[in-house]
């Protein structure tokens, strides 16, 4: 039942200050007043509490189970970060408060940008983008501003690999570019011949992630960077796969000009059921003048805010971005230090390769070489039993683990993209491998149970076709 169906007349949870006498005489002019009552339910505090407890029982997070979602970096969300983000000294600061009164906030912003720049080999950055996609948007806008500034107005194409995350082409399109797709070769790397064929004075840049969405580091990256720069374009780094590179290698050293980071991936800020995220953008000297405003700078030992800059592309957020989110990332970085961040990268890669070695014989491993933080397996060998990757994903749910990412990247058939992260212990990985082995045996002996999974959740497979054909998107559209 939705909360709308739990309404009981006159019940409520709220309380309001009672000193209303002095204010009662003020009533708004009738012409503005709402005529239709608000169709919200009337629920007491205990019923509200129980409603959400019940919903929690029908959900699960990293705290509850292993979440090997490739490309999502589902690492532990440390509770100490939650504690810090809820300090009144931060939560009570108004975004337009005078600079002198929020020096703590400004220091955090400035220092985090510096930490991220050092880590990534960049010289300047911004914490304003509210999520990875918005970070990509800012990054591509910086590239536009760069070419515009040079008077080069012909560059209206953006090169994007066929293995790229959907946000890359969507972002480029939002910025007015037409997308040219570059093929991957049989090694899962960018096809250099195809790249060379498409580089031209019309190309603004290439968007890339490295390691790529197949979990593989491109050893050609320096060559790719050289080719793109030679043709006058810029190189954009999608930071979704930054986890295995922390203090191992830096995107700036690889030749990238601009990048975004997903703090809700690499820096452990909680996924929250789908957000809020945070997508800081970092860049080198070619682009720093175009960074959005407002910016923070240290001036004679005091932090100040630069509200406007004629070279800047302008604003991207209403205020300072998701401060409460990047605050968590800041503490996370400080707790680890450079030493700890390196250990994250190393252990993420060890965990992934270990898990790969345990699962390889059960599935097709399209790329035999060592992976980085994630790897792809294909479930195509079970198609003749009528079993697809989606079925295996659903059956995993019955065993108390979350399914890996399926059907991404699009270029690999029956793909399962698995990323354990550095958080997980060897035991968890062993148990996960054992569950997979069990399911593979089920495919042999009882494929039906896999095909119709899950069986132990509050619902079985949901009819997504019906949801599109006959949309019910609010409770008032109910037929119950």
């Amino acid at each position: 039942m939705t909360i709308f169906q739990k309404s009981q007349k006159a019940q409520h949870a709220y309380s309001l200050p009672s000193d209303t006498t002095a204010f009662e005489q003020f009533q708004p002019p009738k012409k503005y007043i709402r005529q239709t009552p608000i169709p919200l339910p009337e629920v007491s505090e205990i019923d509200l509490t129980r409603h959400f407890s019940q919903l929690a029982h029908q959900n699960a997070g990293i705290d509850n189970m292993f979440y090997p979602l490739g490309s999502c970096t589902m690492k532990l969300n440390p509770r100490v970060n939650e504690w810090a983000a809820n300090l009144p000294g931060f939560t009570r600061c108004h975004p337009l408060a005078p600079e002198e009164t929020v020096q703590g906030c400004l220091q955090l912003i400035d220092e985090l940008i510096q930490i991220l720049c050092r880590l990534c080999g960049m010289t300047a950055g911004t914490l304003l983008p509210n999520a990875g996609s918005q970070g990509e948007f800012v990054g591509v806008r910086l590239i536009s501003a760069y070419h515009q500034h040079r008077g080069d107005t012909n560059r209206n194409q953006m090169l994007i690999p066929d293995s790229a995350h959907g946000t890359n082409p969507a972002t480029a399109a939002m910025c007015g570019y037409s997308i040219v797709t570059i093929r991957s070769n049989s090694d899962g790397d960018l096809d250099l011949t195809d790249l060379k064929a498409h580089l031209s004075p019309q190309v603004a840049g290439l968007m890339l992630t490295n390691p790529n969405t197949l979990g593989l580091f491109s050893p050609q990256i320096l060559e790719i960077a050289r080719l793109v720069h030679e043709s006058g374009g810029l190189l954009y780094y999608d930071g979704a796969n930054l986890n295995p590179l922390l203090n191992i290698a830096r995107p700036g050293d690889m030749g990238f000009d601009v990048m975004h980071i997903n703090l809700h991936k690499t820096f452990s800020t909680p996924h929250g059921g789908g957000g809020p995220g945070s997508g800081p953008v970092l860049c080198n000297d070619k682009l720093k003048q175009f960074l959005p405003t407002p910016r923070v700078e240290l001036h004679e030992e005091r932090y100040r805010i630069i509200h406007e800059d004629p070279s800047s592309i302008g604003a991207i957020a209403a205020f300072h971005g998701n401060f409460g989110i990047y605050l968590r990332a800041y503490l996370y970085a400080k707790l680890h230090g450079n030493y700890g961040l390196r250990k994250i990268a190393e252990t993420a890669v060890v965990n992934a390769n270990y898990l790969k070695s345990k699962l390889e014989r059960l599935f097709t491993a399209p790329f035999s070489r060592h992976c980085m933080h994630e790897f792809i397996l294909q479930a195509d060998r079970y198609l003749d039993k009528g079993i697809k990757a989606m079925d295996i994903a659903k059956r995993l749910l019955d065993y108390g683990v979350y399914a890996p990412t399926v059907y991404f990247p699009l270029i690999v058939k029956e793909a399962m993209l698995i990323e354990p992260t550095e958080s997980e212990s060897k035991d968890t990985l062993d148990r996960f491998a054992a569950i997979f082995e069990h399911i593979v045996r089920e495919i042999e002996t009882d494929p039906e149970i896999v095909k119709t999974a899950p069986h132990t959740k509050s619902v079985s497979r949901l009819d997504e076709v019906q949801a599109v054909k006959h949309p019910i998107l609010t409770h008032t559209a109910h037929t119950n």
Binding site: H12, Y14, L16, P17, Y32, T36, I38, L40, L48, A56, L76, E82, G89, F90, T91, C93, H94, P95, A97, T101, C105, N130, A131, R141, G166, G176, P219, R250, D253, H264, G272, G273, G274, P292, G314, A315, A317, A318, F319, H320, G324, I325, H336, G337, V350, N353, S357, H370, L397, A403, E422, V459, R461, L462, D463, Q466, V468, L473, T474, N480
Partner: protein
Amino acid sequence: MDFISNKEPQIKEMLTAIGVSNVDELFSSIPSQMRLPRPTDDDGISEFEGMQFMEALAANNTYPAFQNYLGAGAYEHHVPAIVQAICSKSEFLTSYTPYQAEASQGMLQIIFEFQSAICALTGLDISNASLYDGASACAEAALMAFRIKPDSRKIVVSRSMHPHYRQVLKQYLASHSYQIEEIPFRNDGSFDIDTLDCEGAAAVLIQSPNFFGVMEDSHAIFKIAKEKGVLCILCANPLSYGLFASAAEVGADIAVGDCQPLGLPLQYGGPYCGYIACKTNLVRQLPGRIVGETTDTQGRKGFVLTMQAREQHIRREKATSNICTNQALAALATLITILWYGKQGLCKLALTNYQRAAYLRSKLQPGPDCYFNEFKLSFNTSMDTVLHHFRKHGIEPGLCLKKYYPELSNLLLVSVTETKSKKQLDRYIDIAKEIRG
């Protein structure tokens, strides 16, 4: 410190199983000239030291000690204690996007209820799982309007809409050859309806209550727009719907805004939570995630992400937006707050916000017109003197408008919420009168 489980004993075993002798071999695909040396000293800190550090940093913020009368798109409201309790539950805080619907019915239902709550407030038919903030919501609504009216290249926007929102709108439209036409405001801060010319525009976008707290005559403005076949977009503080006409009642096709006043602390600017709602016939152009109800193989009711063909992971460059994550946990905070107040409470909350601001205004700047939550206050003394005087008394009295509207250099934008008692307001009045002499 770190949060890594595996230690030397496990790493050794795992490297053997992989078939390498050391970790460095796993990074051999990275050219050696790029690889950084391993740090030798542990420069991390303990949890205790981390907490001390953050407490000291927070203490460098003196703002929390001031009584806050700043508004301008971020409002200080009571956040019910139950919000933290529910939002910090593991099953919500640490879960991901509900792609595997069967294991995520909790979060999916929450989003469905959030969508329903936004529709309840705005009076419109469909909403989504949230956008980043009010500013990007306005921008996304504008792009939506241009998709619906592909022959139009112009959007009409009120200059009395939040300056930051207008800047973000400009940002989103910068890459396309769209034209933004701004309508000025009259002396009282309201939309100058006489100068409205929306011929050939895709949409008219107004904010009410506007940046100055003035309630616009949205119905009249949208009537003109409709006569020209132009889409009507209303940006509003969702709390104002507890008292004032819904977006549907004034004729809006699309409603946007920021849910921050409902359940989200100030947090130096974020995370907040943008909302967007529209009429049924426009749903295919809505950006962002949408949750819908359906049934499972046994006919039981369940929820799924639906209409994903609009989104980036399916449509890529043809998507309605590049948005991937939404503001899920922030939307949950808003949903809980809306439900905690409920049908009656939301009306009473909106009314007391209106009344407390009206009380302060009546004592210092009486006048007609309808304001919600904030209003303009004029001083003959220099703004620096005004601010200095209030601050001496531990009050941040409001926002100087000079920076945004140079012609309004003697005005302060003052916000009053249910957090201000009569005693506090009377103190403000005394100090203001002192300044005015």
